[in-house]
Structure formats: structure tokens, C-alpha cells
């Protein structure tokens, strides 16, 4: 087994998988994208000089793979050339809720569904900040953004989630 693969798998597989799953909400697709992440890691590991942490480096690759996927998917779906503005592009969930989420409370399940209302950028920030517990600085490093951009996107994402979760809770009759 390739030693680079083994090292990254042992340390960060859970983070990579979880990130890609929350971005796609589809296990089969996540598995495909995970393969792509490892191929890119193995190919480019020689150039890794340790200036950032291995974790943020690996997650930035996962993030690139995810965005690449959405770009291709969007182009294919629309049968026209990509003009996606990632700030405005929403991911629609048509997949079943995974067992790990089903066992959670109703509120958490609704929140999981509300993630679809976020744009790709917003969802990435939510996953890194609240599911993977990265700091603002780490999230900025993974995304290659400024910290203030992370904060702004996070603020907007929370606003979107709050609005839609409140609507869902109202619909479900929770008071």
C-alpha cells in the first residue's frame, strides 16, 4: 500500500469523507470523490513542504475536488456552458437521509435538510466550522480566503439556516 495514502487515510480520512458527504449528500458519489482526492494527494505530495498543516492541505484538496464536481455536474445538467456563480449556486438534495442523521432529533434532521438552502460556499463554511470544528483561521486557510470573508459567509449561512429551520419548525407545528 502506498505510504502517502496510508498516512493520509489514517489521519484524515474521516474528515475528508465527512466533508464530501455533506457537500454531496450521496454516499456513492462521495466514494468516487474520495478516490479523486487520494489520487491528487499522492500525485502532489512531493510538493508539500509542510508550510501549512497536512490537515488543511488535505481538506483544501477535498474542497477543490468538490467544486470541480459541481462545476462539471452543472455543465452536464444544463447542457450549456458553465456560468455558475458559486456565491449563488444552491445544491439540491434528492438523496435519502443517512442513518447517522436519522437517529438524531427532529430538529437536527430538519437542519440537515435545510443545508440544501445554502450555497456551495456557505455549506463549505458550515461543514468546516461546525461539523469539523475548524477555527476561522483554519477555514480561511483551507478555502484560501481571508478570515473576514469566512466570517461574512458564515454569518450569511447561519441566517439562511435560521430562516429555513424556523419555517420548517413552524410547518411541523413545533412551538
Amino acid at each position: 500500500m502506498n505510504s502517502v495514502f496510508k498516512e493520509f487515510y489514517s489521519l484524515y480520512h474521516k474528515d475528508i469523507y465527512s466533508f464530501l458527504f455533506y457537500m454531496t449528500k450521496n454516499r456513492e458519489l462521495t466514494e468516487d470523490l474520495v478516490q479523486e482526492v487520494y489520487i491528487r494527494i499522492i500525485k502532489s505530495y512531493e510538493r508539500f513542504e509542510g508550510k501549512s498543516t497536512m490537515k488543511t492541505w488535505a481538506l483544501s484538496i477535498a474542497r477543490n475536488v468538490a467544486i470541480d464536481h459541481f462545476r462539471k455536474e452543472n455543465t452536464l445538467k444544463k447542457r450549456l456552458f458553465s456560468q455558475v456563480d458559486w456565491k449563488d449556486y444552491e445544491i439540491r438534495d434528492t438523496n435519502p437521509i443517512p442513518e447517522d442523521v436519522i437517529v438524531q432529533s427532529d430538529r437536527v434532521r430538519l437542519l440537515y435538510q435545510c443545508l440544501d438552502k445554502c450555497t456551495i460556499d456557505q455549506r463549505m463554511v458550515i461543514v468546516y466550522r461546525y461539523i469539523q470544528d475548524l477555527s476561522i483561521a483554519e477555514t480561511a486557510q483551507v478555502l484560501g480566503w481571508t478570515e473576514s470573508k469566512v466570517k461574512t459567509t458564515q454569518h450569511r449561512a447561519l441566517k439562511v439556516l435560521k430562516k429555513h429551520l424556523e419555517m420548517q419548525l413552524e410547518k411541523e407545528g413545533e412551538s
Binding site: Y38, K72, T75, S82, D100, L111, Y130, Q141, L158
Partner: protein, 412 residues
Amino acid sequence: MKKKNLSDSELIELLHQLPSVDDKRSMSEVYSSVIQKVNQENQKNTKKFKRYVLPAFATAACLVLGIIGLNYFNSTFNGFESADDNKNVDRSQDQINAIEPAADKPILGLVESPDNVQGNNGEKTGDPINDTLSLKINEEEWKTPVFEDSLNEGEYAVTLGLPDEQAQVFVPVSVIVKEVEGKNWLEQYNEIQNLINEEELGFSENYPLQANLFLDNQGNVNIDLYKNHSYSYGLTTETFLLKSIEVLRYINVKEIFLLENSVPGAYLSHIGDVNHFYTLNPEPKNAYFIFETNEKKYLCPSNISVNTINEALMKMKKEVPVDNLLPSIPNNISFTINSSDPSKLIISFDKGTILKETIENRIMIDAILLTAKDFGYQYVLFENINLDSIGPYDFSEAIKVPISPNLIGSYE
């Protein structure tokens, strides 16, 4: 029903409760799937190259048959047997063998080919999607050239070369790029190389090049071919490389430094040695024709050789079937050319010529301007036109030639 108001802290608490979804596969299962995918990519790349190698092989086979036939004809006609006949056949067979890729030559190198990932110092190194910039492809039915006034402040144009599906012609396509502080044009060019999807546009894959492109301290373009690059697999793939270099002339690149695995110069098995200093011809004397793919029209320099602008414009009235190129000038349009001024070409349409404001006529003007540029002219004056203008072209004065052909979109 009472509206439920959530506080931020409640929402964040709920977000923390979202589970970290686990992969149900074992490490060895994941590893096997990675290896399988690498193998699939290798096979896919091999097939792609075979597609281009096959025509080259067929050409070589024809040459061999020709040589055999010629030898047979000579020996029969001269009435004696040549002792070299067998040697000739053997030599020709060697030529065929040389065109076929070596079975053990890797196409997808795991180490030598850098990937589209974020560098560990926070810099982008060929990131497939930039955080703030994206490649937006326009959907115009025909692709207009890029002119100086197409560019706003802080913008410039870059050009890439896309091979058609049969890899017979190379269509230069341009993208308007928004300058970004801290990045030079070649860094942005590298980003676009990773973003462009040739197959979706109806072309064959060419980018990213199997090379590291960078500017040295003097601002010279360096193209350092990866150790296991595949350009030497056939004349077609070698042409891919050279044409990809040649389109840089539209960006005003006059020469490049070519390296192979960081060693100056390169050896291509069919073309031979290519110098470290590779000069780009700013006036390659091309005639531009219409090329159509995915129901979009482009203007494409042809492979046909022309010596004068007059000859080029005459050829542009007829299609080039072998390259699937269509005429860019209607056959019924007649004009005379005054090429005495080295910077300004004057085209006088024949008396009685009636032009209408149609796409065909707009394309004709585009094609003439691009052709004039490739012959070194800076301006073209159109005379005896019944219209004052067609599209943006004002015929009352000489029109400046474009920067580059086929604007396909923007990187902003």
C-alpha cells in the same frame, strides 16, 4: 400557530449535533478503489492517444506502401533487382514502430504531473476553481475577435489552442482576464488551463499542458515539459505541443524558453531537437476559415500555405474539406487589394457590391482583419461599401486589427 424563533447559539448547538458521517469501507477497500480509478484513467488516456496515433500510423503505412511500390517500379523498370530492397522495407518498418507508443511508457504519471491543488504556502498552484474568479463561457453563436476596445481597465486577453476532434486543426480561443493583484498573467493562464473543458466546447482535450509554465525573473515564458510527458507519442501529439506554444503569439509572446524536466531544450521523437530558445513567428501568414463545432462558429487559421495576403483572401472563398474548414468570404464578393502600405491594407470592393448587415458579412470582416494581422498589417481600410458600418465596424476609417480571435468568455 406561534412562530418559533431560534437564537444563534441554539442554531450553532444544533449544528454541532450533526454527526460526522463515516465511510463504511475499510482502508484496503478504499485503497483498491483508488488504484482501480488510476488504472481506468490510464486506459482512458491510452485510448485517447491511440485515436490520434492511428491516423499517423495510417499515413506511415501509406508511405511504406508507396516506398515499396516505388522500389518495385524502379527495379522492374530498370530491369535489375536492388540489393537494398529489403533494407528499405526494414527501415520503413522502423519508422512505423517509432510512431507507435512504447507500451511501457506511462501516460498518467503519479509523481511527475503536478495537480490542481492549493499549495501549502497558501498560494494557488493551478487551482481548478479559483475562489473569486471563475471561467464564464459565452454562448454566442459565433465567436468574435478580441479588440483593444473589448478590454476594460484592468483586463487583458489570453489565447489557448484547442484541437478539433480529429486533431487536424487548432482553433485559437481567447478569454478576457481580470487582473488580480499579486498574480502575473501566466499564473492566471495556468488557472484557465485547468478550468477550460475542451470536450464540452466540442474540441479534443489539450489542457492543462504536460508542462510547468512560469515566468523567470526577466519575465520570459518558460515551458518545462514534465519528465514523462506524452508529446513524443506521434507527430500529432508533438504538433499539439508546438501549436499550444504558437498561440502564445496572440499574447505578444515573442519567444519562449523550452525545457524538458528542467533541462534546456527538448527532444521530440518525430520532430527532433527543439531549441531552448523557441521563437514565435508574429506574422505566420495564415488564412482564416470558419470552423464549426457544437453549433458554434469560430475563425481558424488553416494549415494551407499561402505567400501573399491576396492569395490568402482568395483561398478563403473556398472550403478546405480535408480540415472541415468552411469559406469565410462569400464566393460572390469581389474586391481588389492595395498592400503597398506595410501597416495598412486597403480592400476596395468591386463597384456594385451590395453588402447587408448579416452574420456572414460580419464574419467575413472578422476573418479579413485576422488574416491581415497575421500578415503584419495593423489597420485595414474597407472601401466602396454601401453600408457605413456592420456591427461595431465603422467603414469611414481604417479599422485596427484585433488582438486575437474567438472570444469564448471571461475569467473574472
